[in-house]
Symmetry: C2
Subunit: 352 residues, 2 copies
DNA sequence: GCCCTGAATGGTAGCGCTACCAATACCGTC
DNA sequence: GACGGTATTGGTAGCGCTACCATTCAGGGC
C-alpha cells in the first residue's frame, strides 16, 4: 500500500502533478528529507541530494507554494503597496524591485492604493491575511489603523520614498522638503526673484515639497501666496500648461516656477513655447524627479534627481536580508537626491 | 475537549488567528456551512447566514487564502505577464486591470518578462505552479514551450495587446501593422513624400509597426531603406533626438518621420526645436500610442490612440467572466485604434 | 401511506507541505 | 568500553480549508 492516501480508492483531487512524496519514493528517501534538500541543501548529505535532484528533474516536480505557505504559515511573498501605477516615479521603483527579487524564490504581491489611505488599509488587511514574508509601503502617512496592521503584521516592514521620524520598522527614502528647499534656493541663486510654485495631486509628498518651497523663500523675503497654484487633480503635461497660463495671467511678473513634478514642468515649457516666453531668460523652470525626458527637452530642464530605481532595488534587498535573518546595519536609510541643473534655470535677463 | 487539535497539548503553530472552526463554533454551525456561507451565500439559509456574519465580524475572521488554495487546488489569483514596467503603455494597461479587479476577491500576480521570451517561460512555470484562476500574457509571440504551458495551464488564458490568428484561448488587442499602415498613409495624404521610420527596442509589436510602414509605402512608390533607422536599445526621448539627428544627416531630404512610439516622437520634436526645423512644415512627426503629453506638446503631436486602459480593464473582466463560467460572446476581440491627427502632421511647405 | 425530489446541513478525509521531536549513526574523549 | 556530542534522517501530526458523500427534512404526486 502506498503511503499517500491512494489506498482509499478515491481519485486524487489535484491535477495529478507530482508531489514531494512522489519525489521521495523515487529517490528512496522520506518526504521530509526532500523538503530539506529543496529548502536548505546543506542539511542533507551529498549523496541524497544528488538522488533527489535527479528525481525532481525526472518527474518535473515543482513545489506547491500554497501547501508550503499553509504548512509553514509563511508565504514567500513580499507585499508592496504603491499609490499609483501611471506615475513614472513608481514605475522606476517597481523596476528596481523586480530586478532585485529576480533569482530569489520570492514573489512580489503588488497593490495599488490610488492615493487613498482607506484603500491602503484594505490592501494591507488582504495582504496580511496571506502571511507575507515582508511588507513594503509607500510614504509615512499611514492611517492609525494601517499603522497598527503593519506593526502587528509579524514580518519585516519597510516604508519607502520618504525619510522621517518614527519608522514602523525600516525606511528607505529621502526628504522631499529638503530637496524642494534646495532647488528653490538654486533658483534664487540663479537670479530669479519672483519664484512660483505649481502643484498637482498634492499627496503628502507634494505637500512636503510645497513646504520646502516655503522654507526656502521665507528667509529670502517671504512667500507671495499669489505665486502658488495647486490643484488636487492628477498631474499631467496638459495640466502643467494650464496651471502656468493661469499663474502667468494672475502674476505677470513671475520669473521662475518650481513644478511639483516633471510632467508639470514639461507642460510649463510647452506653454512658454506657445506664448513665446524665452526659457530661461524670461522664465526659469524646474521640475522634480528628473525623468529621462527632462535632459532631452529643448532647452534641457532642471530637476531634482531622485533615486527611484535604487529605492526599489535596495528596499527589496533590505527586506530579503531581514527575512533571512541577516544583519541590517542601517534600518533607516536616507538615500539622498541630487540637483540636475540644466539650461532651463540658466538665469533671467539682467534687468539692470 | 475542543475539536481542533488543541487537545494534543501542543500549541498551535499559526499566529493564533481565528479559523473557520472558531467562527463555526461561535455561530453554532459546522465549519463547512461557514465555508459555504462565505463563498456562495445563496446556498445557506438566511438565519444561518446572519449568525455567521455576526460571528465573522465578532472574531475579525479573515479566510486564509493559502489554505483555500490548497484545499480547492485553485488560487484566487490572476497571473499577468507584461514585458516592461517603465513603458507607459503597460502602466495604463495595468491601471485598467487593477481597476477591473477591484471589489472582486481575486488578486493580480504580476510578472515582468523584460521583453525576454525565456524569462516569460520561467514566469509562466512559476505562475502555473500556483494554480492560478486565469493567465493574461502580452503579445502573441510566446515560445513553443511557453505556449504549451499556457495550453496545459488548466485555466482561461488571454493574450493581450495584439490581434492575430490562432489564439491560445481568448484575445484582446488590435493590429499594430494596420495602425501603422494607416498613420503612414495619413502622412502621405498630408503631402509628405520622404517619410522615414524611427524605431527602438524593436520587440514583436514594433516589428509589426515597421511592417505596416512598409505596407503603406509599397504601393506609393516603395520604401527607401535609407529612411529607416532602428535600434535594439530601449526607447527614450533622448534616443528619439539622436535617431532623428542621424537620420537627417543621412537623408537631408526627409520630410516626415513615423516614430515607433511617443517617446521617440517627443525626442524628434525636441531635436527639430534645437536645430530650428519647422514642425510640421519642414518635418512632419507622428508617434504611436498617444500618451497624454502628445496633445500638450508644442506643436501638438499626431499619434495613434491605442486603448490601453480599456485593454487592461476588459481583459480582466473577460477572464473573470470565464472563471465564473459566464458566457463569453466573443473570445477574440479586435478593440481597434484611432488616429489622433494634430498640428505636427499639418503638411509640408508646398514646393511648387 | 409510500416513494421521489430537492434544498439545507453535516462528517470525513484529505489538499501537499513542514514543524517538531525522535531515532540512528558516527566520532572523539576519558 | 561507556559517554556525550554532532550530523543526518525519519515519523507523526497537523496548517486551515474544501471536495465529496451522506444525512435530514419538507413538500408533492400517486
Amino acid at each position: 500500500m502506498s503511503d499517500s492516501g491512494q489506498s482509499v480508492g478515491r481519485k486524487r483531487r489535484g491535477a495529478g502533478r507530482p508531489t514531494i512524496s512522489d519525489v521521495a519514493r523515487l529517490a528512496g528517501v522520506s518526504p521530509i528529507t526532500v523538503s530539506r534538500a529543496l529548502r536548505d541543501p546543506q542539511r542533507v548529505s551529498q549523496d541524497l541530494r544528488a538522488n533527489i535532484d535527479v528525481a525532481v528533474r525526472t518527474l518535473g516536480y515543482v513545489p506547491d507554494p500554497n501547501a508550503r505557505a499553509l504548512a509553514s504559515s509563511r508565504a514567500d511573498v513580499i507585499g508592496v503597496i504603491i499609490p499609483s501605477l501611471t506615475n513614472n516615479v513608481f514605475a522606476d521603483v517597481l523596476r528596481g524591485m523586480y530586478d532585485a527579487i529576480n533569482g530569489s524564490s520570492y514573489q512580489i504581491q503588488l497593490g495599488n492604493s490610488r492615493y487613498s489611505p482607506i484603500e491602503e488599509e484594505r490592501l494591507l488587511t488582504t495582504f496580511v491575511s496571506q502571511r507575507p514574508s515582508a511588507l513594503i509601503v509607500s510614504g509615512i502617512d499611514q492611517t492609525p489603523t494601517a499603522r497598527a496592521t503593519l506593526e502587528n503584521a509579524g514580518c519585516p516592514v519597510l516604508q519607502i520614498m520618504e525619510s522621517g521620524p518614527d519608522p514602523v520598522d525600516m525606511m528607505v527614502g529621502f526628504s522631499h522638503r529638503k530637496a524642494a528647499e534646495e532647488i528653490v534656493r538654486h533658483l534664487w541663486h540663479a537670479g530669479y526673484r519672483r519664484i512660483g510654485f505649481i502643484g498637482a495631486r498634492m499627496d503628502p509628498r507634494s505637500q512636503r515639497r510645497l513646504q520646502g518651497y516655503r522654507d526656502a523663500l521665507e528667509p529670502l523675503g517671504g512667500v507671495d501666496p499669489a505665486l502658488v497654484t495647486t490643484t488636487p487633480a492628477p498631474s499631467s503635461v496638459s495640466l502643467g500648461r494650464d496651471l502656468l497660463r493661469d499663474l502667468m495671467s494672475r502674476a505677470p511678473d513671475l520669473d521662475a516656477v518650481f513644478c511639483n513634478n516633471d510632467d508639470l514642468a514639461m507642460g510649463a515649457l510647452f506653454e512658454c513655447q506657445r506664448s513665446g516666453l524665452d526659457v530661461p531668460r524670461r522664465l526659469g523652470i524646474a521640475g522634480f524627479n528628473d525623468l529621462e525626458m527632462m535632459a532631452a527637452a529643448h532647452p534641457p530642464l532642471t530637476s531634482v534627481r531622485t533615486p527611484r530605481y535604487e529605492i526599489g532595488y535596495r528596499s527589496v534587498r533590505m527586506v530579503l536580508d531581514a527575512i533571512t535573518g541577516r544583519d541590517i546595519p542601517e534600518r533607516v536609510i536616507d538615500i539622498g537626491y541630487e540637483l540636475a541643473v540644466r539650461d532651463s534655470t540658466g538665469g533671467p535677463v539682467l534687468s539692470q
